[in-house]
């Protein structure tokens, strides 16, 4: 089947801008609409499901919070008042406010502050060619979304569209837009991605509220900065609460089986920190969706890990820096027959070399984060990486896999701390949220666990300020096992990236190059003129999944999305993400020569990035994937 050329959806280049054309008459809106559908599921004020009980709860939460905010305002100090009231409004709900924010409310302020700060930088970076164009085509889309014109909007759709997207059901079209003129990219993002507006400095509310609920006499324009900050805080809280409620509804559904399809849709836009460990385990296929099987499955997997380790650690001890081959000499000597003992010697030497390599790399893993310089952490990583390598001889240990291990490790460590925090809070009368716990971790007979529970500073701990050497061997083994299996699942998605010659990476690089040829041919031309080969900078982007270019906190957010893709996004989707990442810097790169391009791409300026930047990038990647997913032939 020869791929048909579809001029209406290919990029048009003019004046150095490359733009996607979504059809002359807005016909491409169908794609954007489903994009919206996908993105807006966790939006705070959107009704994505009719008659859904959770929506009822959300509305209550919303209205009580917004109620406080909008009408209960009496002093510039409102920000301080909201939090307790928000908590009060949650009484009788499944979780207390504290359980949402185990690290204390002050943390929220910080997050909010930094989010606000970086917002300006964030939105100015949105002016990528795609979004510039998309802004233009949004007016058409918007028209199609407005109730009065929605029908005609849909009949206009080009059904010949061949990107793989879910059909959109007009019944659940989630966004009710205020029919105002939108021109800035900021508005565009508001529309595409309500979540992104959490910290927006402007107080535009993009979703219609009942006019009767508005305070008639308060003019928003007169609000001072305190008010703005307060409202931002409220929005932020509001969104987090809504999001959490949605996740809980999926995770705690009574029929015993978690709806993974729904979970993926929700998680694509980010998973709340407290639930991330269990959600990731579900998404990656480690924790069974069927709840009755969860505890037994995990138990089996965890003991499998322990057994595996026992078998390898007779040859290699992980205790300290020296490679101690406890049985190598003695067993070689005791086995009769020269050849046999030679083989054994060889394999012991190979194991030693492998261990040596892993040891060097673990020391160099994420050195900027204190957690990874702790002996207990390093020992866990060594075990996990070593076992994975000997169990996957076709690839063995490849540098970069150490990086991939860290998000799982720190999320699962953090989850244990969170469970302990919840347990400690329970003693003082907070509601029990154990149904959200990953099974089989807490144990009343674990004396080290009891000590941590009694630690007065327990509530202040996170994976970043806690020394895992305080954890019992029992729990250490659990965290390692969970990390091991999730890492193994991830690596299954990209097996070809680490086997001999790394063909997976070479394919990804060539796919990306061809994608850039479609999206930004001038950038490609410039690279060629300067003698840049894509492999020269892309190899690391692929081999380490951008973990060297983006901070681990943001990588974790990216993985929420990657893990929600089917198949997992570490392979195919990642190529589109890298394209979005590269094109973000397109204008700058076109001004640079060979040397400066390489130096720039080796150290791209992401230090001030926030989740919002990541989410914009993911959204762009999503659009490109939708455009090109069925066009393998074009990419090859």
């Amino acid at each position: 089947m020869a791929p048909k050329r579809r001029p209406e959806m290919s990029q048009v280049s003019s004046n150095g801008h490359n733009e996607f054309v979504f059809g002359e008459k807005g016909g491409r809106g169908k794609n954007l609409l489903s994009f919206l559908k996908n993105l807006s599921l966790t939006g705070p004020l959107l009704n994505s499901h009719k008659n859904d009980n959770s929506e009822e709860i959300n509305r209550n939460i919303n209205s009580s919070i917004y109620g406080e905010m909008t009408y209960g305002y009496t002093s510039p100090d409102t920000g301080g008042l909201i939090l307790p009231k928000a908590a009060a409004s949650l009484k009788g709900k499944r979780l207390s406010l504290l359980s949402f924010f185990p690290y204390g409310l002050s943390k929220i302020d910080t997050t909010d502050g930094s989010g606000t700060q970086s917002n300006n930088g964030g939105s100015s970076r949105l002016a990528s060619p795609l979004f510039r164009h998309a802004t233009n085509s949004m007016s058409a889309l918007e028209a199609s979304l407005r109730p009065s014109s929605r029908k005609s909007g849909f009949t206009d759709l080009d059904d010949d569209w061949d990107a793989q997207i879910d059909d959109v059901d007009p019944e659940v079209a989630p966004v009710v837009l205020k029919p105002v003129a939108r021109s800035s990219t900021n508005d565009m993002i508001d529309l595409l991605h309500p979540d992104l507006m959490a910290f927006a400095p402007s107080l535009r509310i993009s979703v219609e509220r009942k006019p009767s609920q508005r305070h008639p006499s308060r003019d928003r324009a007169l609000m001072d900065s305190h008010d703005r900050q307060a409202e931002q805080e409220v929005r932020f809280l509001n969104q987090m609460l809504t999001k959490l409620t949605k996740f809980q509804n999926i995770l705690l559904k009574n029929d015993g089986t978690i709806d993974l399809h729904e979970l993926r849709k929700l998680s694509w836009n980010g998973v709340p920190a407290e639930l991330r460990a269990s959600v990731w385990q579900l998404l990656v296929g480690y924790l069974p969706a069927n709840k009755s099987r969860q505890a037994s499955n995990l138990m089996r997997k965890r003991s499998e890990y322990a057994e595996g380790l026992k078998n390898v650690s007779t040859q290699i001890l992980f205790k300290d820096d020296n490679v101690i081959s406890s049985t190598a000499n003695s067993s070689a000597a005791s086995v009769p027959g020269g050849r046999d003992s030679n083989n054994r010697d060889n394999s012991v030497n190979k194991d030693k070399a492998l261990y040596h390599q892993i040891k060097i790399d673990v020391k160099r893993t994420n050195p900027s984060m204190p957690l990874y310089s702790l002996a207990a952490t390093q020992q866990s990583l060594k075990k996990i990486l070593y076992l994975w390598a000997v169990r996957h001889p076709a690839s063995g240990y490849v540098q970069g896999i150490n990086d991939l291990c860290t998000p799982f490790y720190q999320i699962f460590l953090g989850n244990y701390i969170w469970q302990l925090q919840r347990k400690a809070a329970h003693k003082t009368g907070a509601p029990d949220d154990s149904p959200l716990f990953i099974p089989g971790i807490l144990d009343d007979n674990d004396t080290q666990e009891q000590l941590i529970l009694e630690d007065p500073k327990l509530m202040t701990y996170t994976a970043e300020n806690f020394d895992p050497s305080r954890i019992s061997d029992r729990v250490t083994a659990i965290i390692e096992a969970d990390t091991y299996w999730c890492l193994a699942r991830l690596l299954e998605n990209i097996t070809d990236n680490y086997i001999n010659e790394q063909p997976g990476i070479h394919r990804q690089v060539s796919d990306l190059r061809n994608l850039i040829l479609k999206i930004d041919p001038e950038l490609l031309q410039h690279f060629e003129a300067e003698g840049i080969e894509f492999i020269q900078f892309l190899f690391r982007w692929m081999n380490c999944l951008l973990m060297r270019e983006v901070s681990v906190g943001l990588i974790i957010r990216m993985w929420d999305t990657y893990l929600s893709e089917t198949p997992l996004g570490f392979n195919l989707f990642h190529v589109y993400v890298c394209a979005a990442f590269l094109i973000k810097f397109s204008a700058e790169l076109k001004e640079k020569d060979f040397q400066d391009i390489l130096l720039f791409l080796q150290n791209p300026p992401t230090a001030n990035w926030t989740e919002k930047d990541i989410e914009v990038m993911l959204s762009e990647a999503f659009i490109w994937q939708s455009l090109y997913v069925n066009k393998g032939a074009h990419l090859r």
Binding site: D361, R364, Q399, E533, I535, F539, F594
Partner: protein, 214 residues
């Protein structure tokens, strides 16, 4: 600033994983040492301007990854090299023994025009460590390796410490000098071109584009 175009010299740094290639390059280029360097993936690119015999040269250095798995990548980085630095770790005998296979690998993948007299240089790093940790009878082993005409590693050798900044500068000044000679040798045969990438790239592109005509 002189209007004359700077001479670009391309240098490749090879050697086993963990011998300290990245630390050496950081010491040479940025004058610092840190225990926080991550393992190199693929290769890192660095530049440094030097004055050699009154001539300003610009070194373009590829600090490559030591892991065997990445060796198939070499061709993307080795091409057009003017000098190749072979590194070992004075505490790790295996890294010393691997030098000749690094050299062979380089010659195969870089496709240099003069493999017989292509400039290589050997760096033994980490001499700051305790004598007891060093390879036993290192000097003897070194003599064996470098004097052995068959083994073919009869190249200038420098012992360095990236940590304590011993001999690093000197070693790389020599690298630059040798690279300059090689460049002048090569430059004579291709003086029309202002850089040496176009050739290679165009070949590459033709291959890549052959897949799809649409």
């Amino acid at each position: 600033m002189s209007a004359r175009k700077k001479t670009l010299l391309k240098v490749i740094v090879l050697g086993d994983l963990g011998v300290g290639k990245t630390s050496l390059m950081q010491q040479f280029v940025n004058k610092k040492f840190s225990h926080q360097y991550k393992a190199t993936i693929g290769a890192d690119f660095l530049t440094k301007d030097l004055t050699i015999d009154n001539k300003t040269v610009s070194l373009q250095i590829w600090d490559t990854a030591g892991q065997e798995r990445f060796q198939s990548l070499g061709v993307a980085f080795y091409r057009g090299a003017d000098c190749c630095v072979l590194c070992y770790d004075v505490t790790n005998e295996k890294s010393l023994n691997n030098l000749s296979s690094w050299k062979d690998e380089f010659l195969v993948q870089s496709n240099v025009s003069n493999p017989q007299d292509f400039p290589f240089i050997i760096i033994g790093n980490k001499i700051d460590v305790d004598e007891s940790k060093k390879i036993p009878s290192l000097q003897k082993k070194l003599l064996n390796i470098t004097n052995n005409q068959l083994g073919g590693l009869n190249y200038p050798l420098f012992e360095t410490s990236a940590k304590d900044s011993i001999n690093v500068e000197t070693a790389f000044e020599n690298v630059a000098r040798m690279a300059l000679q090689q460049e002048e040798l090569n430059g004579a045969s291709r003086n029309d071109m202002n850089d040496d990438y176009h050739d290679a790239i165009n070949i590459h592109l033709e291959n890549d584009n052959s897949g799809c005509a649409c």
